[in-house]
């Protein structure tokens, strides 16, 4: 990893921290306000790729563990990681890596707009939703004793909001790729 990669990792972590400072946005048809920070996993994977994206989240989780209030709403500290939703926080690292891996493979030069959007959207959905819940939900189930199937049913409520986030992240990733391309290519 050269110095530029290290700087990109640190800058993306800093962006994720700032996304947690932005007031949450409510969208007409979804009752839960959307925090910009929750899109960070998808954005990191789609914009700086698998390796650097995952490292940006390793650094972010380290900031949380070190007791800095970097999570949206000024939360932080080891208590959050020990709590029932800690699996989602640790899962961010793997989720970002998978998002990046898929984006690096699917996004190619000379793709049309829709193809590129679809590639980013698939990467965000698989990495940022499927992988993240696959790690987060068993953790909830294990810590609370609630059956996994019921945790999964309860989580369905968050899926519409997550799909919307994947859509926004895919559009933003496309805009960044056009303006300042950083995503490594893989064949």
């Amino acid at each position: 990893m050269n110095t530029r990669d290290l700087v990109l990792v640190a800058l993306f972590t800093a962006i994720t921290v700032v996304l947690g400072l932005i007031p949450p946005i409510t969208l007409g048809f979804i009752p839960v306000p959307i925090t910009a920070q929750s899109m960070g996993v998808m954005l990191a994977g789609c914009i700086i790729g698998a390796k650097r994206g995952a490292l940006a989240y390793v650094l972010f989780v380290l900031l949380v563990a070190a007791g800095l209030p970097v999570l949206s709403g000024g939360r932080g500290g080891l208590a959050i990681i020990q709590g029932p939703t800690g699996g989602f926080i640790l899962g961010w690292i793997v989720a970002t890596y998978v998002t990046g891996l898929i984006a690096e493979r699917l996004v190619k030069d000379g793709q049309n707009d829709i193809g590129q959007f679809a590639a980013f959207f698939i990467a965000s959905v698989v990495g940022g939703i499927v992988v993240l819940y696959a790690i987060g939900m068993p953790w909830v189930s294990m810590t609370t004793g609630a059956p996994l199937t019921d945790v999964a049913t309860g989580s369905l409520a968050f899926i519409p909001g997550d799909l919307l986030k994947a859509g926004i992240a895919a559009l933003a990733a496309r805009a960044v790729l056009v303006g300042y391309p950083l995503l490594p290519h893989r064949t």
Binding site: T3, G67, T144, G145, V176
Partner: protein, 207 residues
């Protein structure tokens, strides 16, 4: 903008090494899941609460910090009590609260810098194998703290530009300019770091 959640003090937990605290937390985090007896879990909870509220953290701050985690735990455990059994939910409550309170106590008694130093030291064996550069952790950490206020200023500037043009501030129109504006400085920052020789080339160390 980013103040650590630790409080100054000289309690036994403050004086304990970071490594010991993290090791205890790790062992406790695994061990308590093998225990389902309330005769162990309730005393563990009381002990952790005792430690948490004697770290020098004002009681009000202490409670305020716990609120979001407590909220999630209570909601999830009401569901558990309903779906599984009240006994299981009770056990999970005392177990989770014991862990959360002890983890909170570790956070309250560990300065951010000490924590990062300890992580760097723990990475040294991997550094010797050439897998990571332990010193990069501290450098990356410093870069984040240095650039968060700058990036927040970028955000405010983009938001104001939206308002001046009568546009609604939306995530979609904020994210791309914010990210491009921030990441395009990477080359300059990297050059500045290399020019000052903050990262020694690997070959130096092998000699």
């Amino acid at each position: 903008m980013l103040n650590g959640l630790n409080v100054e003090g000289s309690t036994p937990l403050h004086r304990m090494s970071v490594r010991t605290k993290l090791a205890i937390l790790l062992v406790l985090g695994v061990a308590l899941y093998f225990v389902s007896s309330l005769f162990v879990l309730v005393p563990a909870f009381l002990l952790a609460a005792g430690i948490y509220f004697t770290t020098g953290l004002p009681a009000r701050d202490g409670l305020r910090r716990l609120k979001p985690v407590l909220f999630t735990i209570v909601i999830l455990l009401i569901a558990t009590a309903y779906l599984a059994s009240i006994r299981e939910a009770t056990e999970a409550f005392f177990r989770l609260m014991a862990l959360v309170l002890f983890a909170g106590a570790v956070t309250a008694t560990t300065a951010t810098g000490d924590f990062i130093d300890e992580i760097t030291r723990l990475l040294l064996p991997l550094d010797r194998l050439g897998l990571v550069r332990a010193a990069d952790v501290g450098l990356a950490f410093g870069l984040v703290l240095r650039f968060v206020p700058d990036i927040f200023n970028h955000y405010q500037a983009i938001r104001d530009a939206h308002r001046a043009r009568g546009l609604k501030v939306r995530p979609l129109t904020i994210l791309a300019p914010l990210i491009i504006l921030t990441l395009k400085d990477a080359d300059t920052i990297a050059m500045a770091i290399d020019a000052r020789g903050f990262r020694r080339p690997r070959s130096d160390r092998n000699n």
